[in-house]
C-alpha cells in the first residue's frame, strides 16, 4: 500500500472557480455508473439467489424513490416528484426485469453485470436519438441504474447518503435529487466535471460557504475514492495526491485566506461608509431563495437582485401564483426591513423552450428575452406580479424590469402592475401597497434615454455584464475576441457616468448589479462615479465593504475624473494601480496579483 502511495504522482486539474475557499480532504467519488461493474460467473445453483438479489435491489430502490418523491414534492414542488415517478416506472419495466433475469440465468453472471448490460443496450438506442432534448433523457436511465447498483452492491459502492465522515465530494454532475440525501455537514468541498458558476453544486457550495470547482471535464473518472485532494476555489484548481511541498504551500494560503475572511467578517455589522462619511448600500445577488442565509451571514443589506428565472427553468411547468408567493415571501421575510429587489422573469428563448415551444433564435442575446418576453406573455407576467405584490405585504419589496430598451415597455409594464394591484385588492388580498418600481440599465439604448426613463421609475440598476457586451459588441464567451471584453473600457465608464447623472438629476437612486464591483478596480471607480448601491454575490460583500471603508469618497471622485480622461482600459488600470500604490497601499491585498 505504501509503495502504491509513493508512486501516485501529484496531478493538477484546472476548472472554473464556483465558490471561494481552500479545502483539503479525501475524495468521495459519487458516480457509480462510471465504476466498472465486473463480470462474475456464478454456479447454476446460485441463479435463484442472484435473481432474488436483483429483485430485492429493485424493491429497495422503489422504497427510496417513494420517499424521495414525497420529500421533493414538499421541498421544491410537485413537478420534480413527477420526474422521479417515471424513474419508478423504469424499475417496473418488464423489458428491464425479464431481460436481466434472462441474462442472469442464461449467462450465469452476477446481477450487477447483467443489469448493466441490459441498460447499456437501452442507452445505445438513446445515443442514436437525434433530438438533443430527448437524447438527454438517457441521464434519467443512468440515474436509475446508479440507484439500483448502489442497493445491489451494498457497502461496496459509495452513495451520497453513505457519506459519514468529512470528504470532498467528486461527481460528474450534481442535481437537486442527488444532493437531497446528502448530509451537508460532511462535505468539505464540491468538485464536478460539468457545470458553470450557476450550476446546482456551485450555488449549494456558496450557500454553505465551502469551496467548489466545476467544469473539470473528467475529474470524476481520474480521481479514485480516498485520493487526497486540495480544492482551491479561488483560482479554480484541484490538486490530486499533492506532494508534501504543495500541501505546505496551500496550508499557508488557506491560513492567509481564512485570516482575511475572518477580518472581513468582523465588518459584518458595519455599514458601507467611506472614511469621509459617504454611505453606499451593499446588497447581494441571489439565484435561489435558499441563498438568503448567505446574504445575512455576509452582512449584505438586503437583496439587490433576486433573479427569478432559476425557479422557472428548473421545472417542466410554470410555477403557480401560490408557489411563487411562498417562494418570494420566504426571502422577503428573512431580510426585512432590508429591501429585496425582485427582478421579473429574465429568460431568453433558449431557456424556456420547455413551456412556450421551440424558440431557437439565431441571435438570442438580441432576441425575445426579458421584458420583451413577459410583455408578450402577459399570463406569465401577471401571475408573477400577483405573487410579488402579495409577497410585498411581508416586507420591503422593489420590482425591477430587465432588458428595457424603449420607454413604451416601462409604461406598459407599469399599467399591468396597476391592473394586477386592482385585481388583488378587489379579491381582498393583502398586498404591499407601493413597492418601488425600477428598470435594469443594460442596453446602450437605455443609457441614451436614461433621462426619459428616470422620470417614470423609482430607481435604476445597471447590469454591467450585459451592458458591457452590448456596448462593446463582444461576446465574452468567444475566445478570439474575449480580450476586448473589459469593464474598464472608457466607453463603459462614460455610459456609467451618464446613467448616474440622469438618475441623480431626476432624484432617483441608481445601483449596479453585476460582477464589476467585485474587484478592486471596479469597486473604486464605481464608488467615485457616485453609484448609490452595489449588489454582488454574497461572498464578495465583505471584500467590497472593506475597500469602501478604506478610502475617502473625495479621492475616488478625483480618481474617476482622471480615469474619464484616459484613452484605453490599460491606462485606466495603470491609473488605479498608481492610486493604490501611492495613496492606499493597505489595499494591495485585494489586488489580483496579491493572490499569487
Amino acid at each position: 500500500m505504501d509503495d502504491a502511495r509513493a508512486e501516485q504522482k501529484e496531478r493538477i486539474f484546472n476548472g472554473i472557480s464556483a465558490s471561494p475557499g481552500i479545502a483539503f480532504g479525501e475524495a468521495f467519488v459519487m458516480n457509480v455508473e462510471d465504476l466498472a461493474v465486473s463480470e462474475e460467473h456464478i454456479a447454476p445453483e446460485q441463479v435463484d439467489a442472484e435473481t432474488e438479489k436483483f429483485l430485492a435491489a429493485l424493491a429497495q430502490t422503489e422504497k427510496e424513490l417513494q420517499k424521495l418523491v414525497r420529500s421533493l414534492e414538499d421541498e421544491i414542488g410537485e413537478e420534480h416528484g413527477k420526474i422521479l415517478d417515471s424513474h419508478r416506472m423504469i424499475l417496473k419495466d418488464e423489458l428491464f426485469r425479464s431481460e436481466t433475469i434472462k441474462m442472469i440465468k442464461g449467462k450465469k453472471v452476477n446481477a450487477a453485470y447483467a443489469l448493466s448490460l441490459v441498460l447499456d443496450k437501452v442507452l445505445t438506442t438513446f445515443a442514436n436519438i437525434k433530438d438533443e432534448y430527448l437524447k438527454e433523457r438517457a441521464e434519467d436511465i443512468r440515474d436509475v441504474r446508479r440507484r439500483v447498483l448502489r442497493n445491489l452492491l451494498g457497502q461496496r459502492v459509495e452513495g451520497i447518503t453513505s457519506l459519514r465522515k468529512k470528504a470532498v465530494v467528486v461527481a460528474r454532475t450534481l442535481t437537486p435529487s442527488d444532493t437531497a440525501g446528502l448530509n451537508k455537514k460532511y462535505v468539505l468541498a464540491f468538485v464536478t466535471d460539468a457545470g458553470g458558476s450557476t450550476s446546482h453544486a456551485a450555488i449549494l457550495a456558496r450557500s454553505q460557504g465551502i469551496p467548489a470547482v466545476v467544469g473539470l471535464n473528467d475529474i470524476s473518472k481520474s480521481v479514485r475514492p480516498y485520493d487526497d485532494l486540495i480544492v482551491d476555489g479561488i483560482t479554480g484548481q484541484v490538486v490530486v495526491n499533492p506532494a508534501p511541498e504543495t500541501v505546505a504551500m496551500y496550508r499557508e494560503m488557506q491560513a492567509r485566506y481564512n485570516e482575511l475572511e475572518k477580518n472581513l467578517l468582523t465588518l459584518r455589522d458595519y455599514p458601507g461608509v467611506t472614511l469621509d462619511g459617504h454611505q453606499i448600500e451593499l446588497s447581494a445577488n441571489i439565484e435561489i431563495a435558499d441563498e438568503v442565509e448567505d446574504v445575512v451571514s455576509h452582512g449584505a443589506r438586503g437583496v439587490g437582485l433576486f433573479r427569478t428565472e432559476y425557479f422557472f427553468i428548473t421545472r417542466n411547468t410554470l410555477p403557480s401564483e401560490e408557489e411563487q408567493y411562498r417562494y418570494y415571501s420566504s426571502v422577503v421575510k428573512r431580510v426585512q426591513p432590508d429591501p429585496v429587489i425582485i427582478r421579473t422573469l429574465d429568460v431568453g428563448g433558449d431557456k424556456i423552450a420547455r413551456w412556450v415551444g421551440d424558440l431557437r433564435e439565431a441571435n438570442p442575446f438580441m432576441g425575445w428575452r426579458g421584458i420583451r418576453f413577459t410583455l408578450a406573455r402577459k399570463d406569465i407576467f401577471k401571475t408573477q406580479l400577483r405573487a410579488i405584490y402579495r409577497a410585498a405585504a411581508h416586507g420591503n419589496v422593489k420590482i425591477m424590469f430587465p432588458m428595457v430598451s424603449v420607454l413604451d415597455e416601462v409604461r406598459l409594464a407599469r399599467e399591468i402592475c396597476e391592473e394586477v394591484k386592482d385585481d388583488l385588492k378587489r379579491q381582498r388580498y393583502v398586498i404591499g401597497e407601493r413597492p418601488e418600481i425600477g428598470v435594469m440599465i443594460e442596453t446602450p439604448s437605455a443609457v441614451a434615454i436614461a433621462d426619459l426613463l428616470a422620470r417614470e421609475v423609482d430607481f435604476f440598476s445597471i447590469g454591467t455584464n450585459d451592458l458591457v457586451q452590448y456596448a462593446l459588441a463582444v461576446d465574452r464567451g468567444n475566445a478570439k475576441i474575449s480580450y476586448l471584453y473589459d469593464t474598464l473600457h472608457p466607453s463603459i465608464l462614460r455610459l456609467l457616468r451618464d446613467t448616474v447623472a440622469a438618475a441623480h438629476k431626476n432624484k432617483i437612486w441608481v445601483g449596479i448589479c453585476g460582477e464589476m464591483p467585485g474587484n478592486i478596480y471596479g469597486a473604486l471607480l464605481l464608488l467615485g462615479l457616485g453609484l448609490d448601491e452595489f449588489s454582488a454575490a454574497s461572498y464578495l460583500i465583505p471584500t467590497i465593504k472593506k475597500i469602501v471603508r478604506s478610502v475617502t469618497y473625495d479621492e475616488t471622485r478625483s480618481l474617476v475624473r482622471k480615469a474619464l480622461a484616459m484613452g484605453t482600459a490599460r491606462e485606466v488600470r495603470e491609473l488605479v494601480d498608481r492610486f493604490i500604490h501611492e495613496k492606499r497601499p493597505e489595499l494591495r491585498e485585494f489586488h489580483p496579483e496579491a493572490a499569487s
Binding site: 417515471s86 423489458l95 438513446f126 436519438i129 433530438d131 430527448l134 436511465i141 420547455r354
Partner: protein, 90 residues
C-alpha cells in the same frame, strides 16, 4: 390485429414522463401493443422502449394492437397522442 398512426404534437416530443403516460395507458389494455417509429419497433408497455424511440415533435408513431380489446386500445392511444396527452401544455 389493428393498426393506426398518430403524429406527435408535444413540443418536446415523447420525453421520459410522457413515455410513462403512454405506457400507463397501454398497460390498461389486455392486448399486445407495439409502437414503432421509422421502422424501430418496441413494446408500448415498456417505458424504456418507448422513451428509446426518441419521438420528437412531428414524428409519426405507428401502433399495432393485437388482442380482445384491440379496437378500443388503438383508439385510446391515438386520442392520447392527438390530444397531446391532455394535461401537457409544453
Amino acid at each position: 390485429m389493428v393498426s393506426g398512426s398518430a403524429r406527435v404534437k408535444n413540443k418536446n416530443g415523447i420525453h421520459l414522463r410522457l413515455a410513462g403516460e403512454l405506457v400507463k395507458a397501454a398497460t390498461r389494455f389486455k392486448s399486445q401493443i407495439t409502437v414503432s417509429k421509422d421502422g424501430q419497433e418496441v413494446d408500448a408497455k415498456s417505458i424504456l422502449g418507448v422513451a428509446g424511440l426518441g419521438a420528437e415533435c412531428g414524428a409519426e408513431l405507428l401502433f399495432s394492437v393485437d388482442g380482445e380489446d384491440e379496437g378500443q386500445a388503438l383508439e385510446y392511444l391515438i386520442d392520447l397522442i392527438d390530444n397531446q396527452f391532455a394535461q401537457e401544455t409544453g
